[in-house]
Symmetry: C2
Subunit: 411 residues, 2 copies
C-alpha cells in the first residue's frame, strides 16, 4: 500500500462515535488487507515428532531411505521359491523342508526349503513368494504344499512404498496422527514446522452499571479456544478501565505476532479502541460490510497486525471466524479458509440477509434441511447455542429461499 | 452375553497361529460387542469452564437467570420514548434533551428526554425504543430527531434469548469455544463433564532382525494422537520382548479404563497377544471381517475392555478408526460414529473390495473425483500419506464403479 493510499484510508475511517459507520470497507477489502499481512511467522523451528501433531510442516520431509528398506514379506506365511510349488494341489501335495527359525535377511533359503515369515519380515535370499498358511500343512519340519503360488505373490519390494529422497510429506501440511507415525517409523525424530504465532488478546471490558447484575466476560474464553483451534498461542490481558491511554499501552507492548482487541469498537462514546490504535499505530480499516461483526477493524503497530473485534460476543465470534481467524491461520502456515467441515444442505425456512453486507447466518438442521436460528437483529451467544453451523451469505444477495442449496459450515 | 454363548465364543476364536483365520467375526458383531461395552466412564467431574473446551457435558446446563437479565439496548443509539418521535422527518425535526450520562438501570428518563446507550446497556425506565445515531443530530444537549422509530425498535427484552432455568446447553455435547464463552458470560465457572477415559497403550514391539535396518515404532505416536483426538488420556507401555507372560502382566495391571495392545495379533508363531489375553482374561473376538486390520481382536480383563490392534501401521490405523476409536469415543460420552468430516464425492477410478469384508479404502481427490491410493494388498503408512480421506465399503459389495457416489471421510 502506498503512503498516499494509506493516508486516504486514514481519512476514510474517521471517528464513528455518535455518528455511525458512514463508509464501511467491503468484506473483500478487509480480506485483501488480511491476506497482505498473513505471511507465515519466521523463523521455522525443529520440534520432536512426538509433539508435532497438528503442526504445519515448514518444508518437504523426504524419505531418508527406501520404504521398505529391503524386499519383505507382505503377509504372514512361508517364504519359498515359487517354482518349487508348481503343480501342487490338494491331491498332489508337494513337500519342502522348513528351515530353522529365520532371523537374519542374509539367510539363504536351501533348495526345497521354506522359512516362516511374518508381514514385514525381510525376505530370505532365494525366496520369491509367500505361501499363505492355509495353503500348506506343517508336519514336524516337513511342509505339505497344496497349491501353487506365483512369483512375487505376497512380496513387497524394496522402495515399493516410497523411494529414498522422494517426498514423504509435503510442505505446509498439518501433521496427522498417521503422519507422525510414519515419520517415527523411518527414524525421523525431529521435524521442521512453522512456528506457532503468538496472539496477544486484549479484552476491553464492557461498561459496568451500578445495580445491574454484572455479567462475566464471554469473549476471553471463546477467543482463547478459537485461537488455539487455529494454531495460535494466546496470552490474555484484561483492560478493565479501557481509556485511550491504557488501550494504547496494551496494543503497543512488544513481543507478539498479532494483537487482537475485543470490545469497544462501536459507535458509543466509550468505544475508544479504534482511536487508541490510530494514536499508537495505524488504523487501516474500521467498519466492515459484515453482519454481525460490522464494527470490526484492523491496522498495524509497526509491522504487527492489530485486529479489532466487537465486544458483543456473537458479533465477536462472527468477526473472528470471518476475519481474524483468517489472518491467524495464515500466520501459522495453515490455509486461510474457514476450518469447519462443510456440508451441502437445502434451505428449509427462508434465510434473510441485508443486501450490501456479507452475513453470517446461524442455522440448525431440522429434518435434514437447514433453518436460521436466533435473531439476526440482536447479538448474544445464547440463541446461537442451538445452531449446528452457519451459512455465509454474499453481499449482493438478500438471502436464500426455501429449496436453495447452500454450504453449511458445521461447528 | 450368557455364559454358554461366552464359552462358544471362546471355542470359536482359537489359536490362529500358522493356521489363519478360519472363522472371523463379522464387522457388525465386532461393533455390537464394542457398543455393549461402551458406556461413558463414571463418575462425571466438575471442571473449570476455562479448561472445558472439547469436553462433553454430563448433564444439561441450565440458565441461572434470564438472558438478558433485564430489558436492554440491542444496538448503540439514543434510548427514548417512541411516541415522542412520531412525525419527525428531515424537514420537521423534533427536539428532545439528552439526559446526563446514564449509569444505572433505575434511571428514569424525563419526558422529552433521551439517553445515550450502547448495545447491551440496560434500558432506562420509560424508554421503549432505540433511535440510531444516523437518525439524529446532537447539538450541545439538544437532540434533533429526523425520523420516527417504532415502539420496541432496537430493544432486546429480558429473557429474550433464554429464560432462567431453561436448558442452556444439552447433555452429551462437546463444548465449543462459544459454549465456553456463554457459560462464562452468565457467571457459570464450573461445568459437569464426562471424565476423560484413561487408555493404556501397550506397544508389543516387532521382531528385530540382525543386519536389518531397524525401524522405529509408528503405532505409538499414531495411536497417541488418535486417542487424544477421541478425548482419551494415554499412558504408553512398550513391551520389547513380548512373551506371553510380559504381555499378560501389561494387560492385567490395574488402573485404566481401556487397554489397547498394538502388534502381535496375526498368524505368526510370535503373535502371542490373543493367547496372553485369553490366559489373564477373556478373548471375545479374534479376527474380524475387516480389511486392512482383520487380525484385530477384543475381550475383557475383569470388566475392562481390551482391544487388540494389528502391528502393521496401516492395519493398526484402520482397526483403530473402525473399531477401537468407536469404544473410546463412547467411553468419553462422544458419539461412537467416525469423527471425520464427510464429503460426498463421485468415484473417478474403480475402487475394488473383497466381498465378505468391510474394507477401508484410502482415496484422494483428483479433479474433484476420488481415486484409490496405495496398494490394497500391502500395509505401510507411506502410501497412504497422499490420501485425502477414506471410503468404507460394506461387506456385500465388491467395490464401486466410476461414477458411483460415495461418502468420503476426510482425514
Amino acid at each position: 500500500m502506498s503512503r498516499q493510499e494509506d493516508q486516504s484510508r486514514q481519512r476514510r475511517y474517521g471517528d464513528v462515535r455518535l455518528r455511525g459507520f458512514a463508509d464501511r470497507a467491503s468484506f473483500e477489502e478487509a480480506v485483501a488487507w488480511l491476506d497482505l499481512h498473513g505471511r507465515p511467522v519466521l523463523p521455522a523451528e525443529d520440534i520432536s515428532v512426538d509433539t508435532a501433531q497438528g503442526r504445519v510442516t515448514a518444508a518437504v520431509v523426504s524419505a531418508p531411505a527406501d520404504i521398505p528398506a529391503m524386499d519383505c514379506a507382505g503377509t504372514d506365511g512361508y517364504a519359498l521359491r515359487s517354482a518349487e510349488t508348481e503343480g501342487a494341489t490338494d491331491y498332489n501335495p508337494l513337500l519342502v523342508t522348513l528351515s530353522e527359525t529365520f532371523d537374519k535377511p542374509s539367510h539363504r533359503l536351501p533348495l526345497a526349503g521354506a522359512a516362516l515369515v511374518s508381514a514385514g519380515t525381510p525376505l530370505p535370499c532365494g525366496a520369491d513368494a509367500i505361501l499363505p498358511f492355509d495353503a500348506a500343512q506343517l508336519k514336524g519340519t516337513t511342509l505339505e504344499i497344496f497349491s501353487a503360488v506365483a512369483a512375487g505373490s505376497g512380496v513387497e519390494r524394496r522402495g515399493q512404498q516410497v523411494r529414498a529422497g522422494a517426498a514423504l510429506i509435503e510442505a505446509r501440511r498439518a501433521l496427522r496422527p498417521q503422519d507422525a507415525g510414519l515419520l517415527a517409523s523411518v527414524g525421523i525424530e525431529r521435524v521442521r514446522v512453522v512456528r506457532s504465532p503468538r496472539i496477544r488478546l486484549v479484552i476491553a471490558g464492557p461498561k459496568v452499571f451500578a445495580g445491574c447484575p454484572s455479567t462475566g466476560d464471554a469473549n476471553g474464553p471463546m477467543l482463547c479456544g478459537l485461537v488455539r483451534r487455529d494454531g495460535g498461542i494466546v496470552e490474555t490481558m484484561h483492560v478493565a478501565e479501557p481509556g485511550c491511554e491504557a488501550l494504547g499501552q496494551a496494543i503497543a507492548a512488544p513481543g507478539t505476532d498479532v494483537i487482537v482487541v475485543a470490545g469497544r469498537t462501536g459507535t458509543g462514546l466509550d468505544d475508544e479502541v479504534p482511536l487508541a490504535l490510530a494514536k499508537v499505530g495505524k488504523l487501516a480499516i474500521h467498519g466492515v460490510a459484515l453482519r454481525p461483526g460490522g464494527s470490526a477493524g484492523m491496522g498495524l503497530i509497526g509491522v504487527t497486525p492489530v485486529l479489532l473485534l466487537p465486544g458483543d460476543p456473537l458479533a465477536c465470534l462472527c468477526a473472528y471466524e470471518l476475519l481474524a481467524g483468517r489472518l491467524i491461520r495464515s500466520l501459522g502456515g495453515l490455509s486461510p479458509e474457514l476450518p469447519h467441515p462443510v456440508r451441502d444442505a437445502e434451505v428449509g425456512r427462508k434465510i434473510v440477509s441485508a443486501i450490501g453486507f456479507v452475513e453470517l447466518c446461524r442455522v440448525r438442521f431440522v429434518d435434514g434441511r437447514v433453518e436460521p436460528v436466533g435473531s439476526a437483529e440482536f447479538g448474544g451467544l445464547a440463541s446461537s447455542i442451538r445452531a449446528d453451523g452457519f451459512v455465509v451469505i454474499p453481499a449482493p444477495l438478500e438471502g436464500y429461499a426455501p429449496g436453495t442449496h447452500v454450504k453449511v459450515h458445521l461447528c
